[in-house]
């Protein structure tokens, strides 16, 4: 149990509250009665932190592209920075990579302040910038050799080629590679110095599903090798498939953060049972009378929110008992799309297109 003192933003009264690491506790001000939430951040040892971002802000004229965001990335995890286009993902990652200058805030990579020690940090990180295309007239091997020779610490190029499954293509000119292969080479380039942290900025944007899967396999492989991966993406499936920890950014602010399970549990609507083409028009009413949250979707389709899996059997038993037949059923879990919808009122996929 952790104790924490907080100040009421309305009447400035200091309140003491307690909670577990990672818990969000509701509090009521003893003086003015204002309700609020206190988050007990997951405690973490500094040596476990790969990236720490505090109050990072970027302003372009009147536009606040990134609005005082804070988060940290643990070593060895795949951290997905998810958000629609224009949410501030790339601006954030490019400030972390020292490509852009922050308006305010602190960035630490492996404990070093990037403002003062980025040259030291460079040797320990590998970066694949957004929409990166390497030198067109160098072969895959020459490209990797070129970037490798820029570093003091170098990984074995043959090993990287093998790991990225580029052996067959190593003598091909970069310009002649397919989109998927180019992205694989991009990821390979980010590994030439055997980095501790790999930044991948939208590595699958513009790729076909097959090529996207190939890049996912590569990222999964990086995690297996103990690398910390900072992945920015606007594909929720990508974050769901790869990430240990997800931060959702919207209009420059982080609106939710946690593991997939945590986000779905906290902001999702749980699981929903879909029953297709019931033969009886009263099926929805019958289920409602039995206490189920059933909604008719027309054409005999019904969706029922279920809070635990045993409820599925109860619902099906109820239908059988009422002699109601149906064509098929399926259970859909809440996903990040739904989380985003619940948090912003908009669909992530729609905001992205």
């Amino acid at each position: 149990m952790i104790e924490k003192s907080v100040q009421c933003p309305k009447c400035q009264t200091v309140l003491v509250c307690s909670g577990e690491s990672g818990e969000v506790v509701k509090v009521k001000c003893s003086s003015c009665g204002m309700l609020g939430k206190v988050t007990f951040k997951t405690s973490i040892y500094p040596e476990e932190v790969a990236i720490e971002v505090s109050n990072l802000k970027k302003v372009y004229g009147d536009l606040v592209a990134v609005d005082s965001i804070s988060f940290y990335v643990k070593k060895g995890e795949v951290f997905a920075f998810l958000g629609p286009n224009g949410a501030g993902k790339t601006t954030t990652v490019e400030m972390i990579e020292s490509i852009r200058v922050p308006t305010a805030g602190l960035i630490k990579i492996l404990g070093k302040d990037t403002k003062t020690s980025f040259n030291e940090v460079k040797e320990k990180i590998g970066i694949l910038p957004q929409e990166f295309h390497s030198y067109e007239r160098l072969t895959v091997r020459e490209t990797l050799m070129y970037f490798s020779k820029l570093y003091e610490k170098r990984a074995d190029i043959d090993q990287i080629i093998q790991m990225m499954d580029l052996s067959e293509h190593q003598k091909m000119l970069y310009r002649n590679l397919s989109g998927g292969l180019k992205q694989r080479v991009g990821v390979a380039i980010s590994l030439v110095n055997d980095p501790e942290i790999v930044f991948l900025d939208e590595p699958t944007t513009g790729l076909d599903p097959k090529a996207r899967r190939e890049v996912w396999d590569v990222i999964a492989g990086l995690k297996k090798r103990g690398k910390t991966v900072f992945l920015t993406t606007h594909y929720m499936e990508e974050a769901e498939h790869l990430a240990d920890h997800i931060a959702i950014i919207h209009k420059g602010k982080i609106i939710a953060e946690g593991s997939l399970e945590e986000l779905v549990q906290k902001y999702g609507t749980g699981a929903v049972l879909h029953i297709k083409k019931c033969t009886n028009n009263d099926a929805t009413e019958i289920l409602k009378e039995s206490g189920f949250l059933a909604i008719s979707e027309g054409n005999g389709d019904i969706s029922i929110k279920i809070d635990y899996k045993e409820r599925v059997l109860e619902i099906l038993a109820k239908l059988r008992h009422a002699c109601i037949e149906y064509e098929s059923i399926d259970i859909r879990r809440s996903n990040l799309e739904e989380v985003f919808l619940n948090l912003t009122g908009a669909k992530l996929s729609e905001e992205t297109t």
Binding site: S98, I127, P129, S134, Y135, L138, L150
Partner: protein, 369 residues
């Protein structure tokens, strides 16, 4: 600066260059092509000949004497038009640019003029007004020959004459004038377009963003690229000189001024390319902007033709173009061997190079706003 990093980038640039047909064309094929073409076009201009068609309707000893006089002029080749043919139709049929008609009675009128000084006789010169170049020359030659004949017939004498003295060593030809201009122009093209590629395409492709996150510094990168541009500049110069010597037997003097101008020229136009690349972000637009600057400069700075052939206002304008000083510096060091002037022009090119290159380096940013 780490030599390992600079060498790595230099080697990568070399490989990219060798594999690029476009840059090979502009650095080797294009200058060679121009040297061969311009050399062939102007190879005869040092001893030009002009053809004049003559129809002698008089066929007297006087008219024959005059035709012989024309035949004795070394730059003229005289062709006869038969007497019975209509000269205008003949000119049209044969698409002739100039013809001279000696009228019937020419000889008798010349003889009469000895007794009656008021009697004159005119020859008719038919010409194509669209061919101003050779027509003017032929007309001037005929005019001179008539003046000589008049002097002879009237018993006049020469009081004032003219000695012709070439200001450059007599063995030099047009191609000797052309090659230094070609060298200056080729280096300008290579450096401007090379710089633009680095500053627009590399930026668009994310290469600059990527490099910024690696240990290579901006200074090391620019140094490596300049080293490569210098290599290209000297390489294309060597090609131009070798082709000039082999194909046209040009006489080139290689000296410290020539080397200094080539180095300064590379820095000057690389700097200009960096400036263009900074302000014009799109690669295609930047190429157009570079073309808009380099092509007029190529014609106005005396690359292909001496500046003296241009109107005065264009000559004045040329003096604000850096390529003019490059061309003049190269000609004075390689051809005229006027080292005083070569030093003067080299100094100006160095000042231009410092201004453009420093501005270019300061404007070349890796960090995004």
């Amino acid at each position: 600066m780490k030599p390992r990093i600079i060498i790595t980038d230099f080697i990568a640039s070399m490989k990219g260059w060798i594999r690029s047909r476009g840059t090979i064309f502009w650095s080797i094929v294009f200058p060679v092509m121009l040297i061969l073409i311009f050399g062939a076009i102007f190879s005869g201009t040092d001893n030009p000949t002009y053809t004049i068609y003559v129809q002698d309707l008089d066929e007297s000893s006087w008219s024959q004497n005059y035709v012989d006089t024309l035949k004795n002029i070394s730059v003229l080749e005289v062709e006869n038009i038969p007497k019975e043919i209509n000269i205008i139709e003949y000119i049209k049929e044969k698409d002739l640019r100039g013809a001279l008609l000696i009228p019937k009675g020419f000889g008798s009128k010349v003889e009469q003029s000895f007794y009656s000084p008021n009697i004159t006789v005119n020859l008719s010169f038919y010409f194509d007004p669209s061919d101003q170049g050779s027509t003017a020359v032929v007309r001037s030659i005929i005019g001179s020959s008539l003046q000589e004949s008049n002097l002879f017939l009237t018993g006049g004498r020469h009081v004032i004459g003219m000695d012709q003295v070439s200001t450059i060593t007599s063995k030099f030809k047009y191609i000797d004038f052309f090659i230094p201009g070609m060298i200056g122009f080729t280096i300008m093209q290579l450096c401007i377009y090379g710089s633009i590629e680095r500053n627009t395409k590399f930026r668009k492709d994310g290469i600059l963003r990527k490099l910024q996150t690696t240990p290579i510094t901006r200074t090391e990168w620019i140094f490596a690229k300049m080293l490569f541009m210098l290599f290209l500049s000297f390489f294309s110069t060597a090609i131009a000189v070798i082709v000039g010597i082999l194909a046209w037997s040009v006489v080139i003097n290689i000296n410290i001024w020539m080397i200094a101008i080539i180095i300064a020229n590379s820095f000057l136009f690389s700097g200009l390319g960096m400036i263009i690349g900074r302000f014009v972000k799109e690669e295609e637009t930047a190429d157009t902007a570079a073309g808009a600057i380099s092509f007029p400069m190529m014609f106005l700075a005396g690359t292909f033709f001496p500046l003296q052939q241009m109107p005065q206002f264009l000559q004045d304008f040329a003096r604000i173009l850096p390529l003019y000083y490059v061309n003049e510096g190269l000609r004075n060091s390689m051809i005229n061997l006027d080292y005083g002037k070569a030093t003067y022009f080299t100094s100006i090119v160095f000042v231009f190079a410092c201004v453009f290159f420093i501005a270019g380096v300061l404007l070349t940013k890796w960090k995004e706003d």
